[in-house]
Amino acid sequence: MSEQVLSQYYNFRKKRILFILFLLLLLFIIIIYSLFSGSADIGLRDIYSLITGTGQAVSRQIIYNIRLPRIAGAFLAGMALSVSGAVIQSILRNPLASPFTLGISGASAFGAAFAIIVLGAGSSYAGSNDMAIINNPYVVTVSAFLWSLCSVAVIIVLSKYKGATPEIIILSGIIISSLFGAGISAMQYFSDNIQLASIVFWTFGDIGRASWNNCLIIAVVVSLVMVFFISQSWNYKALQSGDEYARSLGVNVSRVRLTGLVVASLVTAVVVSFYGIIAFVGLVVPHIVRRIIGGDEQFLIPASAIGGGTFLLFSDTLARTIISPVILPVGILTSFAGAPLFLFLLIKGMGKDYWT
């Protein structure tokens, strides 16, 4: 009889692995689609000449220096946001948690505003198309990152010295967000029109800022973070059953929770500093994945990562093409698509034992 149970379980596990493979296939299709859609007319017919290097130089430029880094950036950013969301939801045992729960978005937006206004990184220069320009993006990125570390530091201090429960961590995240929100308002009040436009422009999450350089940095960070999260997946699984039970399984609860939060926050901070605030990916994608393959972190973590990357790449491709030649910042699209999607999931899930 126990053989039968075992084979049932193997089958069940196979289904979850198949889902991950399906996501990879979907990703591959979207990459191909994304590579050949956009304002410049480069079709599938050009693929041969691109690979062999015989095609037009302009096409090659567009593919290698604009579309490919953008595809890589969208995938990596989606992966980072979604996997952070999945992990934070698990370790805080809260379905509403996301990478931004801990105040990262507010803190990094404040950092960007600080760089633009106080450090003068967004000069009073408007491009020919009246678009605000951030003339020193590196200062803005570094400042956004450093300020988002502040919100991470608050969490570390709270957990370390007060042994904060998930509820306290979530509430303090809300407070940090509103505090930085007030800071941003104050900065905006004292800024001129162009600076104001620069700040607002920065906060729109936009993968258009992707370059091979920032992709490389994000890729290194995301890879390390993925290894870390996968190595911790059984600890997160134990935390789902409550702190006391997890402790009885030999899990160092406060250390596992703290390191998980810090690592998830750091990778989010890296993505946000480069690309701005991209909402809903970290909230919606882990929810959909949980719905399909259940709450087992061993599968949830890789599936959320690939699912998030695929979702953001799809959204960004849509954002590039939906009202072409105008390219929308993807953050606007994910919020538009994410909010109704989330509401739909909630209504559909009502009365079910799903994150009850």
Binding site: L249, N252, D353
Partner: protein
């Protein structure tokens, strides 16, 4: 494995919850902790496996202090069954029981872990539930799954916190019969119980706690009218019939 509780003390924010608790529990014993609400039963259980850190004294497992065990080592010796869990994520019963293998798992469960899990499900007649969503089981079934999960740790000591408090009488007997069988196999059982009649019927040893102190400890001989009345501040009648003892509450 034998457990020695040496003079332990524990307090919640300065409020003493356990004081001068001493006891020795031999291998294969089935010890029931009884006492009124707030007497320290759950706290004592949590101190015995290090979920709570005692402020004074030690708990020894086979003469080795639990603080000398690594967390995984300790989790392989002692398993804990909580009273209830506020579980959010939906998992299959198999996955819940597999979680008990955590002290043996690093990155992912080995073939052996899956095999142990399926054997335990089989031994406890849970085969038909293995692939069901845990949240959809009845309270009684969930409790048995918790015990299965604890057994997946392959422990020598099983600590249970009020495992039958929410169960109907049939499931209560099912759980206690199962524990009795396990203790006969040499697993030491320590269980917090509200139902003193069940404690008398199943346990080989009884430890009475009141206000965080050991009120009385020993075998069935400590079940006297005077002890029970003083322990709970009520009036009781004790009926002894052949080998059975029944405690009937009479009033306040």
């Amino acid at each position: 494995m034998k457990i020695t509780i040496q003079d332990i003390e524990f307090s919640y924010n300065g409020f003493p919850a356990l004081e001068n608790v001493n006891n020795r529990i031999e291998k294969g014993d089935f010890v029931a902790l009884v006492g009124p609400n707030g007497s320290g039963k759950s706290t004592l259980i949590k101190c015995m496996n290090g979920i709570l850190k005692v402020s004074k004294g030690t708990v020894l497992i086979d003469d080795r202090a639990i603080s000398m065990f690594s967390p995984n080592e300790l989790a392989r010796e002692i398993a804990y069954v909580p009273q209830s869990e506020n579980r959010k994520a939906v998992l299959k019963v198999f996955d819940i029981v597999l979680l008990g293998r955590k002290p043996y798992i690093n990155w992912k469960p080995a073939e052996h872990d899956l095999r142990v899990t399926s054997e335990i499900l089989n031994t406890l007649n849970l085969d038909h539930l293995a692939m069901r969503d845990f949240n959809k089981l009845s309270g009684g079934q969930q409790q048995i799954v918790y015990i299965a999960r604890a057994l997946a740790q392959e422990p020598d000591i099983l600590l249970l916190d009020e495992p039958i408090a929410n169960l109907d009488i049939r499931h209560q007997i099912e759980v206690l019969n199962l524990l009795k069988k396990l203790s006969a196999r040499g697993i030491t059982i320590v269980i917090a119980l509200h139902d003193i009649n069940m404690a008398v019927r199943y346990a080989s040893g009884i430890m009475m706690l009141r206000d965080g102190k050991v009120f009385a400890s020993g075998g069935r001989e400590i079940i006297t009218k005077q002890n029970i009345e003083n322990l709970y501040d009520i009036r009781v009648k004790i009926i002894r019939n052949d080998n059975d003892t029944f405690i009937l509450p009479e009033g306040l």
